[in-house]
Every structure is written in structure tokens, then in C-alpha cells.
Symmetry: C2
Subunit: 209 residues, 2 copies
Amino acid sequence: MGTSPPIEFWFDLSSPYAYFAALKIKGLAERHGRKVHWRPFLLGVLFRVTGNAPLTGQPLKGDYCRRDWERLARMDGVPFVMRSDFPVATQAPARMILAVERIEGRDLAAWFARSLFEAMFGAGLRIEDAAVAADVGRGIGLDAAMLRKAAEDPELKSALRDQCAEAERRGIFGSPWFIVDGEPFWGADRLPMVERWLTHTTSIGPSTP
Amino acid sequence: MGTSPPIEFWFDLSSPYAYFAALKIKGLAERHGRKVHWRPFLLGVLFRVTGNAPLTGQPLKGDYCRRDWERLARMDGVPFVMRSDFPVATQAPARMILAVERIEGRDLAAWFARSLFEAMFGAGLRIEDAAVAADVGRGIGLDAAMLRKAAEDPELKSALRDQCAEAERRGIFGSPWFIVDGEPFWGADRLPMVERWLTHTTSIGPSTP
């Protein structure tokens, strides 16, 4: 592995497109000698800035996206369960991911975040419920009591607020969102572009923000 | 060439993402023995249904997209000029494309539409002006007087309204938009998915709408 900075992967745990990206990003990054820094945030906070709304509630777009998610799952050969009670608020599991990162480090936080995505969209579990999310953590060897406590910890609440403020400051308005050496990429369908960027940055040249 | 139905390519001439797709769609289609049916419509009419707004006017998203367009142009090695007076209304050139399709057929209408995109985003011309769009037509051997007349023809106004109504009825809310054997794909970055669909439809299986 080189010493290049990690790829930042910003996501809301309730984002189906982030689920599909979450399954692929580690493999993509490792092919290019990169680590991934998994950064949970809350899309709803950003919607207040952009005036956007959850996909599932939008006329036409909601129907298209439901069809698109099913199709992506078939193409990628991965399970996909779409709950009918969307959108959901993912503060509790997002705080837990931040707690795991602080205590155990980024690798285990990524492992946990991926497990939460799979519980949510592979099995249709209600991971917004702290008890359910803590159970997911227990399944991969984490301390469930620590996780449940993290969901209500004032310091982690504050850390998640900071994370959302950082997202806003850096112009992030969608999930998934990738930042590679300062260059932003929005959307699961931009992973091929991220890969091309990692391979050919010099020939493409960086963007002038 | 096979006898498979053409790929429908729906676009608004003021859509930068449609410009990038317009340059690629013919080559993609021909690799799979398909023709392309170029279908202009007006995104603004659909925005009334979806509540969406032009990308350039949206907080955060506008900045991201401007950067993304420049980047796509560098990656594809194609010219890109972004006018500052966006969005623009493209009724006049859209009606002209419909006129060319009626008189000269789909192939020449596609040729003209591509020329309009290149004039707009390659050279920064004001193709929403009927005289400018007619000049673009003259440049590829079309009758400029016929084109100028088409821009104000009541029957073509009605044909464009019908085209927009069809877009709405079929759930189209973005540009570019592709339909392959009934399957919808939204966005220039979905062209690789369209290509995969054309290659592997049987193994992926069609969507149930």
C-alpha cells in the first residue's frame, strides 16, 4: 500500500445507492493502494440547505429509483430489500459508527458500517433502532452495551453534528459521496469515474474548484 | 443491423449531461445493432410535475455540476463551453428537429440535433434563437428558411407539446433519458448500464414496472 491519503466515503445509512457503493468501495480502493475513510452523515440535515427531498417521496423520481435499485441488485447479484417506511432517521447507528472509530479505529468502523448497510438493505432490518443496530454490532464481535450507550452519548451527538456541518461546508449534498485527493464525486454510478481518476489523474488534471 | 427496436434518446437541448450523451449514443447503439430515435422535449415542463429545478440554480448542486461538466469534457476530450445565462428555453430548436424528422427522416434529425448540441456546448452559441439554430441547420445542408418557419409553426408547436405530454406519461423526469425495449435509464453516467443491458438483458431480466 502506498502512502496516498484515504478515499473519503460519505454516506447516509438510509441511502440505497450508498448501500450498493458500500459493497464495492473497499475493493476499488485497494486496487489503487488506497484506504477508505467511512464517514456517516445525515442527508436530512443537508436537504435543509439544498431544498432537496428524499428520493422515495418524489413524484416520478421515486418510482424510477425503486425500479433502479431492484435492477442494480440484480446486476450486482446482491440482495436488496426495500422497506416501505422510508425515509428513516439514522442518527443512532451513525453515532455508533463514530464510537467504534474512536475506540477501535477506522477499519473496524468500516466493517461495522458495512454490516449495518447489509442489515438494512440486505435483510430489511430497522437499524435506526439502537437496539437493532447494537445487535448488528454484536454479530461482528463489538460490545453491544457500549454501542447502545453511544447512541445517546452527548459527545457523540456533538461529533455527528460536527460531521454534518463539515459535509455542508465541503459542499456535500448527496449520498454516496466520494472525495479523492480533494476531488468530489457524487453517486454510486460514479465509481467507474473514481476509478478512472485514481488511474489517470495526471492526464485528466485536477479540477479548479 | 438487426430488427430490434431503436433506443429512444430523450433530451432537452439545454442539458449539458445530454450533450455528453449525445456524442456517444450512436456509437454505443451501433455496437449492438440498434438505431437511435432522438426525441427532444422540454425539461421545464416536467419540472412543473416533479418540483425539480434547473441544476445550475440549485445551492451546492449547481457548483458541483459545473465542476463535473468541465471534468467530463476533459475526460472525454471534447470541447465544453458553459454559458452564464442558464437555463434557456429550447422550444424553437426542438420544433425544428421535429420538422426535420417529418421531412427528412430520423437520421438527418439526429444529425441536426447533434449539431445543435455542439453549437450550444462546444461553441457556446445561442441556439434558443431561431435564427441561430437555422444557421446551424444550414451548416449541415438543411433549408434555413424552412427551419425558421418550423420554429413558429402551430402544428409543430402542438407536436412538441404532445412529445412533452408523452414524456410525462411515461415517467420521464430528467435529461438525458434512454429507453431500451421499455426499460428506462436516466443520466449520461448510465450509458455503461445501457450497454450492459443491451449485452446481458436475458441474464439480468427485465424490470417489472
